[in-house]
């Protein structure tokens, strides 16, 4: 049942038994592998080979690399071209580095202020806002009504007439 659940094949996949020996996998997976080893001759043979390989690998002596390897590494480092840095003092001086980082912020603020300042630029037209007391009020109000009455649909006009007739509050 467990083997069916994990779908273990007739022969173990590469690396599975070595990983098992290293302690990998969940409890249920490890239990399934153990069961498969017990019931399959092929699995037992492969498991024995894996154990033999692991024991041989662990028995290898721990040797340091020869001097020529270190010499090759040092030579490779020397041969790597030095990266060209734009204005090296930017990177050498922390103050400049921070200044460069905040430059976009200043740029955004500058552009925003400039835009707003341009938006408030003086209109080419001489415009005066009038009050009620200058005598144009009644006429202007009448023009608003005429504009509304002529440009709007009949129902709106009906509403406006009701408004003017019954003096509905705004």
């Amino acid at each position: 049942m467990k083997n069916q659940h994990l779908h273990l094949p007739d022969s173990p996949p590469a690396g599975l038994l070595l990983n098992y020996l290293d302690g990998a996998g969940t409890d249920s997976e490890r239990q399934a592998i153990r069961a498969r080893i017990q019931e399959s001759e092929t699995w037992r043979r492969e498991f024995a080979q894996a154990q033999h390989f692991r024991q041989g690998f662990c028995a290898l002596p721990n040797k340091k690399p020869p001097q020529r390897v270190w010499a090759a590494v040092a030579q490779a480092i020397e041969n790597t071209p030095q990266q060209t840095v734009w204005f090296p003092w930017f990177y050498a001086n922390t103050l400049w580095t921070n200044a460069v980082r905040v430059l976009p912020v200043f740029l955004v603020v500058f552009l925003t202020v400039t835009y707003l300042w341009m938006g408030e630029s003086k209109s080419p037209y001489h415009v005066v806002v009038m009050s009620d007391s200058n005598g144009f009020g009644l006429e202007a109000e009448s023009y608003v009504a005429h504009h509304a009455l002529s440009a709007e649909p009949a129902l709106t006009r009906e509403t406006l007439v009701a408004y003017y007739t019954y003096n509905w509050p705004e």
Binding site: H126, G137, A140, E141, L149, R157, V161, A162, E170
Partner: protein, 352 residues
């Protein structure tokens, strides 16, 4: 079993639920044709319904509810049901003319001269336009030239399946509208208009509508109503002749054309009212002679003839310029700069 049931529910939602608002209806491909059909249907189909009208007035909104009916013959009847102050006012439009509930005499006495003028203008305009032309859309060719039409979605409205379309200006600072069009009859069920800055301006919508109604002929009786105009009284409708040659400013905003001219007499003199439109936005230019007092006052003021004076009333701005002994005033649905430009383009050469 549960999974199968879930799949079946999802399948039903995709196949049926997703198109419930306009069952069996695809998104319309030709939106211009759809809009034309909707205008035709809205202006001609017989129906009866409860029509609501909202309009923004400064920070508040007006709300009017009306019971409207249109006979197959074209006769129309509108009765205001809300607000209570206007409840019961009937407007009836038949082949003989326009009829209306008589105004209360006390109210009539309180009307000042300007309000009476407004009434006259209303009555004149009423004859020229469809009583139930809900939207301000007209001159669709011009509208298509200056505005984009886009399909929004399918939506159920007033218990009917509807297409929702949106009309927005190609030029900046133009009004926009959304319209709900009945899938079956193409009748406009709802109309919402936004100002150029995107705020709500006005809306018409049917709370309920019956497009196959049974009409009561008694509802169309003119008994007890005043006839405000008759189709036979053409002589009374003539506008006065102007005592000056009206000017047409050279710098009209892009996309706008002259729609109509009206003339009437104010206390200060004869006024010419020119209406310009780009299919949806409107622009009014009023011109009249200055009175002697106004000319004298202008001389005393420091303002030159290049000055544009702005007066605001009920959230609408009126722009005025006095030059060569004439006063030019403008009201419009467009940006102030465009109106400044139009007013400033009036030449400073004297007129005869």
């Amino acid at each position: 079993m549960k999974i199968v049931t879930l799949h079946l529910i999802c399948l039903w939602f995709v196949c049926v639920g997703g198109v419930v608002p306009c069952a069996g209806q695809e998104a319309p491909l030709d939106l211009k044709a759809l809009l034309r059909q909707s205008m035709e249907a809205t202006n001609n189909l017989p129906f009866t319904g409860q029509l609501i009208f909202h309009r923004r007035a400064q920070d508040q909104r007006w709300r009017t509810a009306t019971q409207v009916q249109r006979l197959p013959s074209g006769d129309k009847r509108m009765e205001i049901t809300y607000p209570e102050a206007a409840q019961g006012i009937v407007m009836l439009h038949d082949k003989t003319g326009l009829w209306r509930t008589p105004l209360n005499e006390e109210v009539r006495k309180t009307l000042d001269q300007d309000q009476k003028v407004d009434m006259e203008i209303f009555l004149r305009a009423y004859r020229e336009k469809e009583i139930l032309n809900l939207s301000r859309l007209e001159r669709l060719g011009l509208l298509f030239k200056n505005y984009n039409i886009t399909f929004e979605n399918n939506e159920k409205f007033a218990d009917r399946d509807a297409f929702q379309i949106k009309i927005t200006g190609k030029a900046p600072h133009r009004p926009a509208v959304k319209i709900w069009i009945d899938c079956q009859t193409k009748m406009q069920l709802k109309y919402v208009r936004f100002t150029p800055d995107g705020t709500f301006e006005e809306s018409f919508f049917f709370e309920s509508i019956d497009l196959q109604p049974n009409f009561s002929q008694s509802a169309f009786s003119t008994e007890g109503l005043d006839q405000f105009f008759s189709y036979n009284a053409a002589k009374e409708e003539q506008e006065p002749d102007l005592d000056f040659t009206p000017i047409e400013p050279p710098a009209i905003p892009a996309g706008f054309v002259l729609r109509s001219n009206h003339r009437w007499k104010r206390g200060e003199g004869l006024v010419q009212h020119s209406v310009y439109t780009d299919g949806m936005a409107f622009l009014s230019l009023f011109q009249r002679r200055q009175t002697e007092q106004e000319i004298q006052k202008q001389k005393e003021e420091e303002c030159s003839s290049d000055t544009i004076k702005v007066f605001e009333r009920r959230g609408t701005k009126v722009y005025m310029r006095e030059i060569n002994g004439f006063r030019y005033s403008m009201v419009g649905d467009i940006a102030a700069d465009e109106i400044y430009k139009m007013l400033s383009s009036i030449p400073a050469t004297p007129k005869k």
